[in-house]
C-alpha cells in the first residue's frame, strides 16, 4: 500500500508539473485547470484500488451522509441517487458502485457557496453497495447503501 501511495503521489506530481509548464507557456487558460478529468480514478478496477486512486485513501470513517436511492432498482441503466450531508467544510464528494467494473461513477468539487449535495442517475451492472464519500476538512468520510438491481445496466 505504501508503495502504491507513493506511485500515485509521484504520478500526481509529474502531471501537475506538466500542466504547470503548459500554463506557463500560455498553452492553457487557467480555467482549463478545473477540467482535469481524473483518468486514473475512473480507469481503476476493484473498489479498494479505485478508492486509493480517487481519494488517496481507503480508510474512511462513517460520516453524517445520507444516500437516497431505491432499495430495488428494476432498471440498472438508470438508478437515481441523491447524496446529502450535514457535515461542514466540505470541499469534494464522490460516488462509487462497489460491484461495477469501473467503481467510480463521479466526483464533485464544490465551488464558492456550494451546498454539499448532488443528485444524478447512475448505471449499475448488478446489485451492489453504493458508497458516497465526502471530504470534510482534510478527511474523507463515507456512507454505504445497498441497492438491489433486477436488470443490470452496463453494456452487453
Amino acid at each position: 500500500m505504501t508503495s502504491n501511495k507513493r506511485r500515485v503521489f509521484l504520478k500526481g506530481t509529474l502531471a501537475a508539473g506538466t500542466v504547470g509548464v503548459a500554463v506557463g507557456a500560455g498553452l492553457l487558460a487557467p480555467s482549463k485547470l478545473l477540467a482535469a478529468w481524473p483518468e486514473d480514478a475512473f480507469k481503476a478496477r476493484g473498489f479498494e484500488d479505485t478508492l486509493q486512486a480517487a481519494l488517496g485513501t481507503t480508510d474512511m470513517p462513517e460520516g453524517d451522509i445520507e444516500i437516497s436511492a431505491p432499495e430495488i432498482a428494476e432498471n440498472g441503466m438508470v438508478v437515481p441517487v441523491t447524496v446529502e450531508t450535514g457535515m461542514s467544510d466540505v470541499s469534494e464528494m464522490a460516488l462509487f458502485v462497489v460491484e461495477n467494473g469501473s467503481p467510480l461513477t463521479s466526483k464533485y468539487v464544490l465551488g464558492a457557496g456550494a451546498v454539499p449535495m448532488f443528485a444524478t442517475r447512475i448505471k449499475m451492472g448488478q446489485s451492489s453497495d453504493v458508497v458516497a464519500a465526502v471530504k470534510s476538512g482534510d478527511t474523507w468520510y463515507s456512507a454505504t447503501r445497498e441497492v438491489k438491481v433486477t436488470i443490470g445496466g452496463c453494456g452487453g
Binding site: 478529468w37 469501473s102 468539487v109 464558492a112 456550494a114 448532488f118 443528485a119 444524478t120 453494456g155
Partner: protein, 101 residues
C-alpha cells in the same frame, strides 16, 4: 438547439439547479448492429459558474446514465446568470446560460 436544459430557482438564498443533458454516455462495452464495440463516449466534466466564480465542477465516468440528470445547490441570488457547460471525452462540448429565477 442546446443539448442542455437547465432550471435554476432561488429560495431563501439557496439556488437549486436541475439540468438534463442530451448525451449517449456510451460505456465502451456495448455493440452496434454490426457487432462491433461502440467506443466510450461520455461527458467527462461539467462546470457551473456564476460570473467568474465556479460554484460546482463534476467529473463523470461512463457509469452516469444516458442523457444525464444533475441537480446541485449553491448560495446565490435571483437574477444572476448561471453558466452550465460540459465537455466529453471525444472533444465535444456545449454550454448554456440561465437566469436564476
Amino acid at each position: 438547439m442546446s443539448t442542455i436544459r437547465v432550471r435554476a430557482q432561488e429560495s431563501d438564498g439557496i439556488v437549486t439547479v436541475r439540468a438534463l443533458m442530451t448525451h449517449p454516455m456510451e460505456t465502451g462495452t456495448s455493440k452496434d448492429a454490426a457487432g462491433d464495440l461502440i467506443p466510450p463516449h461520455h461527458i467527462d466534466v461539467v462546470t457551473a459558474d456564476v460570473g467568474d466564480t465556479n460554484v460546482m465542477t463534476a467529473y463523470w465516468g461512463v457509469t452516469i446514465s444516458r442523457n444525464p440528470f444533475f441537480q446541485f445547490q449553491f448560495e446565490g441570488n435571483k437574477g444572476d446568470t448561471l453558466k452550465l457547460a460540459w465537455t466529453d471525452n471525444q472533444g465535444g462540448s456545449d454550454s448554456v446560460e440561465a437566469t436564476i429565477g
